[in-house]
Protein backbone atom coordinates (compact mmCIF):
# COMPACT_ATOMS: atom_id res chain seq x y z
CA UNK A 1 0.00 0.00 0.00
CA UNK A 2 1.61 3.24 -1.11
CA UNK A 3 -0.49 5.63 0.93
CA UNK A 4 -2.21 4.82 4.21
CA UNK A 5 -4.97 7.35 3.60
CA UNK A 6 -7.16 8.69 0.82
CA UNK A 7 -5.45 11.94 -0.03
CA UNK A 8 -8.48 14.10 -0.72
CA UNK A 9 -10.75 13.07 2.07
CA UNK A 10 -9.83 15.31 4.96
CA UNK A 11 -12.48 13.87 7.27
CA UNK A 12 -11.00 10.40 6.82
CA UNK A 13 -7.48 11.66 7.50
CA UNK A 14 -8.67 13.42 10.65
CA UNK A 15 -10.52 10.28 11.80
CA UNK A 16 -7.36 8.21 11.28
CA UNK A 17 -5.30 10.78 13.18
CA UNK A 18 -7.77 10.68 16.07
CA UNK A 19 -7.34 6.92 16.27
CA UNK A 20 -3.66 7.56 16.90
CA UNK A 21 -2.34 7.19 13.37
CA UNK A 22 0.79 9.34 13.46
CA UNK A 23 1.18 9.27 9.69
CA UNK A 24 -2.29 10.72 9.30
CA UNK A 25 -1.46 13.58 11.63
CA UNK A 26 1.79 14.21 9.77
CA UNK A 27 -0.25 14.37 6.56
CA UNK A 28 -2.44 17.12 8.10
CA UNK A 29 0.69 18.96 9.13
CA UNK A 30 2.09 18.81 5.61
CA UNK A 31 -1.14 20.11 4.16
CA UNK A 32 -1.44 23.14 6.39
CA UNK A 33 1.98 24.08 7.79
CA UNK A 34 2.67 26.57 4.97
CA UNK A 35 -0.65 28.36 5.39
CA UNK A 36 -0.38 28.44 9.17
CA UNK A 37 3.18 29.77 8.98
CA UNK A 38 2.13 32.49 6.54
CA UNK A 39 -0.81 33.49 8.73
CA UNK A 40 1.41 33.55 11.82
CA UNK A 41 3.97 35.68 9.97
CA UNK A 42 1.30 38.15 8.91
CA UNK A 43 -0.10 38.48 12.42
CA UNK A 44 3.15 38.58 14.40
CA UNK A 45 5.31 40.18 11.68
CA UNK A 46 8.25 38.38 13.20
CA UNK A 47 9.81 35.21 11.86
CA UNK A 48 10.88 33.80 15.21
CA UNK A 49 7.45 34.37 16.74
CA UNK A 50 5.79 32.88 13.67
CA UNK A 51 7.90 29.74 13.98
CA UNK A 52 6.97 29.44 17.67
CA UNK A 53 3.30 29.91 16.80
CA UNK A 54 3.53 27.24 14.10
CA UNK A 55 5.05 24.70 16.52
CA UNK A 56 2.73 25.53 19.40
CA UNK A 57 -0.33 25.28 17.15
CA UNK A 58 0.52 21.84 15.76
CA UNK A 59 1.70 20.43 19.08
CA UNK A 60 -1.46 21.67 20.81
CA UNK A 61 -3.61 20.30 18.00
CA UNK A 62 -1.90 16.93 18.36
CA UNK A 63 -2.33 16.93 22.11
CA UNK A 64 -5.99 17.97 22.02
CA UNK A 65 -7.10 16.15 18.90
CA UNK A 66 -9.77 14.33 20.92
CA UNK A 67 -11.39 17.72 21.58
CA UNK A 68 -11.79 18.46 17.88
CA UNK A 69 -15.49 17.98 17.25
CA UNK A 70 -15.33 17.37 13.56
CA UNK A 71 -18.22 19.76 12.85
CA UNK A 72 -15.84 22.30 11.42
CA UNK A 73 -12.90 21.77 9.12
CA UNK A 74 -9.63 20.77 10.72
CA UNK A 75 -8.06 23.83 9.10
CA UNK A 76 -10.56 26.20 10.77
CA UNK A 77 -9.82 24.54 14.09
CA UNK A 78 -6.04 24.79 13.83
CA UNK A 79 -6.28 28.38 12.56
CA UNK A 80 -8.17 29.22 15.72
CA UNK A 81 -5.42 27.71 17.86
CA UNK A 82 -2.72 29.49 15.84
CA UNK A 83 -4.47 32.87 15.95
CA UNK A 84 -4.78 32.64 19.75
CA UNK A 85 -1.08 31.80 20.06
CA UNK A 86 -0.14 34.64 17.71
CA UNK A 87 -2.22 37.17 19.64
CA UNK A 88 -0.59 36.05 22.88
CA UNK A 89 2.81 36.78 21.31
CA UNK A 90 1.65 40.24 20.32
CA UNK A 91 0.33 40.92 23.79
CA UNK A 92 3.61 39.83 25.33
CA UNK A 93 5.54 42.12 23.03
CA UNK A 94 3.28 45.10 23.67
CA UNK A 95 2.50 44.43 27.29
CA UNK A 96 1.23 47.96 27.78
CA UNK A 97 -1.47 47.52 25.18
CA UNK A 98 -3.93 44.69 24.87
CA UNK A 99 -4.44 43.20 21.46
CA UNK A 100 -7.75 41.68 20.56
CA UNK A 101 -9.45 40.73 17.36
CA UNK A 102 -12.55 42.33 18.76
CA UNK A 103 -11.19 45.82 19.31
CA UNK A 104 -13.76 48.50 18.68
CA UNK A 105 -13.20 50.15 15.38
CA UNK A 106 -14.18 53.62 14.43
CA UNK A 107 -17.25 54.17 12.41
CA UNK A 108 -16.28 54.90 8.91
CA UNK A 109 -13.69 57.65 8.62
CA UNK A 110 -11.11 55.04 7.71
CA UNK A 111 -13.30 54.00 4.83
CA UNK A 112 -12.76 57.29 3.02
CA UNK A 113 -10.42 56.56 0.19
CA UNK A 114 -7.49 58.85 -0.18
CA UNK A 115 -6.24 57.73 -3.56
CA UNK A 116 -8.77 57.42 -6.32
CA UNK A 117 -7.21 56.61 -9.65
CA UNK A 118 -7.97 53.94 -12.23
CA UNK A 119 -5.47 51.11 -12.58
CA UNK A 120 -3.82 49.66 -15.61
CA UNK A 121 -5.60 46.70 -17.09
CA UNK A 122 -2.97 44.24 -15.83
CA UNK A 123 -0.97 46.30 -13.37
CA UNK A 124 0.87 43.33 -11.93
CA UNK A 125 2.59 42.70 -15.27
CA UNK A 126 4.73 45.78 -14.76
CA UNK A 127 6.49 44.06 -11.90
CA UNK A 128 8.44 40.86 -11.45
CA UNK A 129 6.94 38.09 -9.35
CA UNK A 130 9.30 38.92 -6.48
CA UNK A 131 8.38 42.59 -6.65
CA UNK A 132 4.67 41.78 -6.68
CA UNK A 133 5.00 39.51 -3.66
CA UNK A 134 6.90 42.23 -1.86
CA UNK A 135 4.28 44.86 -2.71
CA UNK A 136 1.37 42.61 -1.68
CA UNK A 137 3.05 41.44 1.52
CA UNK A 138 4.10 44.97 2.45
CA UNK A 139 0.55 46.24 1.97
CA UNK A 140 -0.89 43.53 4.23
CA UNK A 141 1.74 44.23 6.86
CA UNK A 142 0.61 47.86 6.94
CA UNK A 143 -2.80 46.83 8.26
CA UNK A 144 -3.62 46.36 11.93
CA UNK A 145 -3.43 42.73 13.19
CA UNK A 146 -7.22 42.45 13.19
CA UNK A 147 -7.52 43.35 9.54
CA UNK A 148 -4.49 41.26 8.55
CA UNK A 149 -5.99 38.11 10.03
CA UNK A 150 -9.44 38.63 8.52
CA UNK A 151 -8.12 39.51 5.08
CA UNK A 152 -5.63 36.64 4.86
CA UNK A 153 -8.23 34.06 5.90
CA UNK A 154 -11.00 35.34 3.64
CA UNK A 155 -9.26 36.58 0.53
CA UNK A 156 -5.92 34.77 0.46
CA UNK A 157 -6.84 31.40 2.01
CA UNK A 158 -10.39 31.48 0.66
CA UNK A 159 -12.30 30.66 3.86
CA UNK A 160 -15.98 31.60 3.88
CA UNK A 161 -17.17 34.44 6.11
CA UNK A 162 -18.69 31.88 8.49
CA UNK A 163 -15.47 29.84 8.68
CA UNK A 164 -13.38 32.95 9.27
CA UNK A 165 -15.79 34.02 12.02
CA UNK A 166 -15.41 30.63 13.68
CA UNK A 167 -11.63 30.59 13.33
CA UNK A 168 -11.29 34.09 14.75
CA UNK A 169 -14.04 33.79 17.37
CA UNK A 170 -15.80 36.82 15.91
CA UNK A 171 -19.40 37.35 14.83
CA UNK A 172 -20.21 37.24 11.13
CA UNK A 173 -21.00 41.00 11.01
CA UNK A 174 -17.68 41.72 12.75
CA UNK A 175 -15.80 39.70 10.12
CA UNK A 176 -17.68 41.49 7.35
CA UNK A 177 -16.96 44.99 8.61
CA UNK A 178 -13.27 44.17 9.15
CA UNK A 179 -13.00 42.58 5.73
CA UNK A 180 -14.51 45.64 4.06
CA UNK A 181 -12.08 47.97 5.79
CA UNK A 182 -9.12 45.69 5.09
CA UNK A 183 -10.01 45.49 1.40
CA UNK A 184 -10.45 49.25 1.09
CA UNK A 185 -7.21 50.00 2.90
CA UNK A 186 -5.28 47.53 0.73
CA UNK A 187 -6.85 48.99 -2.40
CA UNK A 188 -5.68 52.38 -1.27
CA UNK A 189 -2.12 51.15 -0.66
CA UNK A 190 -1.91 49.26 -3.95
CA UNK A 191 -3.19 52.24 -5.94
CA UNK A 192 0.14 53.93 -5.30
CA UNK A 193 1.82 51.16 -7.31
CA UNK A 194 -0.79 50.18 -9.84
CA UNK A 195 -2.47 53.41 -10.93
CA UNK A 196 -2.50 54.23 -14.59
CA UNK A 197 0.36 56.48 -15.56
CA UNK A 198 -0.76 60.05 -16.17
CA UNK A 199 -3.97 59.72 -14.20
CA UNK A 200 -4.36 62.49 -11.72
CA UNK A 201 -5.88 61.68 -8.40
CA UNK A 202 -9.09 63.59 -8.16
CA UNK A 203 -10.70 64.62 -4.94
CA UNK A 204 -13.12 62.33 -3.23
CA UNK A 205 -16.60 63.84 -2.81
Amino acid sequence: MSSPIGIDDEAAVVAQARLGDEKAFTELLRRYEGKIFRLALHITQNREDAEDVLQEAFLKAYEHLDQFQGQSKFYTWIVRIAVNQALMKLRKRKSDRSVSLDDTIDTGEDKVAREIAAWDENPEQQYSREEINEILGGAIDGLTPIYRAVFVLRDVDGLSTEEAAEALDLSVPAVKSRLLRARLQLRDKLTRYFKRKGDDTFAYL
Binding site: F25, G34, K35, E51, A113, P123, D155, R183, F202, L205
Partner: protein, 82 residues
Amino acid sequence: MTPLLTCKQFLDELSDYLDEKTDEALRNKLEQHINDCPNCWVICDTTKKTIQIYKGMDPYPIPPEIHTRLMTALEHKMARKP
Protein backbone atom coordinates in the same frame (compact mmCIF):
# COMPACT_ATOMS: atom_id res chain seq x y z
CA MET B 1 -38.52 56.00 -8.03
CA THR B 2 -36.18 54.32 -5.61
CA PRO B 3 -34.08 56.66 -3.48
CA LEU B 4 -30.50 57.01 -4.64
CA LEU B 5 -27.66 55.67 -2.55
CA THR B 6 -25.04 57.94 -1.07
CA CYS B 7 -21.36 57.10 -1.60
CA LYS B 8 -21.12 56.00 2.03
CA GLN B 9 -24.07 53.63 1.62
CA PHE B 10 -22.44 52.29 -1.52
CA LEU B 11 -19.13 51.63 0.27
CA ASP B 12 -20.95 49.93 3.15
CA GLU B 13 -22.27 47.34 0.71
CA LEU B 14 -19.19 47.05 -1.48
CA SER B 15 -17.80 43.85 0.06
CA ASP B 16 -21.10 42.00 -0.23
CA TYR B 17 -21.52 43.29 -3.76
CA LEU B 18 -18.08 42.02 -4.82
CA ASP B 19 -18.78 38.67 -3.13
CA GLU B 20 -22.11 38.53 -4.99
CA LYS B 21 -24.00 38.30 -1.72
CA THR B 22 -26.51 41.12 -2.31
CA ASP B 23 -30.09 40.52 -3.41
CA GLU B 24 -31.20 41.70 -6.81
CA ALA B 25 -32.96 44.88 -5.66
CA LEU B 26 -29.89 46.09 -3.79
CA ARG B 27 -27.57 45.03 -6.59
CA ASN B 28 -29.56 47.15 -9.05
CA LYS B 29 -29.30 50.16 -6.78
CA LEU B 30 -25.56 49.65 -6.36
CA GLU B 31 -25.05 49.33 -10.09
CA GLN B 32 -27.08 52.46 -10.68
CA HIS B 33 -24.83 54.27 -8.22
CA ILE B 34 -21.61 53.13 -9.98
CA ASN B 35 -23.00 54.23 -13.32
CA ASP B 36 -23.61 57.72 -11.97
CA CYS B 37 -20.56 58.10 -9.74
CA PRO B 38 -17.10 57.82 -11.35
CA ASN B 39 -15.29 57.83 -8.00
CA CYS B 40 -17.25 54.87 -6.68
CA TRP B 41 -16.81 53.09 -10.01
CA VAL B 42 -13.03 53.42 -9.64
CA ILE B 43 -13.11 52.27 -6.02
CA CYS B 44 -15.27 49.29 -6.93
CA ASP B 45 -13.12 48.31 -9.91
CA THR B 46 -9.79 48.64 -8.10
CA THR B 47 -11.07 46.85 -4.98
CA LYS B 48 -12.16 43.98 -7.22
CA LYS B 49 -8.66 43.92 -8.76
CA THR B 50 -7.11 44.03 -5.29
CA ILE B 51 -8.97 40.86 -4.31
CA GLN B 52 -8.08 39.16 -7.59
CA ILE B 53 -4.38 39.95 -7.25
CA TYR B 54 -4.27 38.53 -3.73
CA LYS B 55 -6.15 35.41 -4.81
CA GLY B 56 -3.35 34.69 -7.25
CA MET B 57 -0.64 35.23 -4.64
CA ASP B 58 1.82 32.36 -4.37
CA PRO B 59 1.34 30.11 -1.38
CA TYR B 60 4.13 30.80 1.06
CA PRO B 61 6.62 27.95 0.77
CA ILE B 62 7.63 26.89 4.23
CA PRO B 63 11.41 27.14 4.68
CA PRO B 64 12.85 23.58 4.87
CA GLU B 65 14.64 24.19 8.17
CA ILE B 66 11.40 25.33 9.78
CA HIS B 67 9.59 22.23 8.51
CA THR B 68 12.40 20.07 9.90
CA ARG B 69 12.28 21.72 13.33
CA LEU B 70 8.50 21.34 13.42
CA MET B 71 8.75 17.63 12.54
CA THR B 72 11.42 17.07 15.19
CA ALA B 73 9.27 18.75 17.86
CA LEU B 74 6.26 16.68 16.81
CA GLU B 75 8.22 13.42 16.85
CA HIS B 76 9.40 14.19 20.39
CA LYS B 77 5.82 14.78 21.41
CA MET B 78 4.62 11.60 19.70
CA ALA B 79 7.33 9.55 21.38
CA ARG B 80 6.22 10.77 24.79
CA LYS B 81 2.56 10.00 24.20
CA PRO B 82 1.59 6.64 25.74
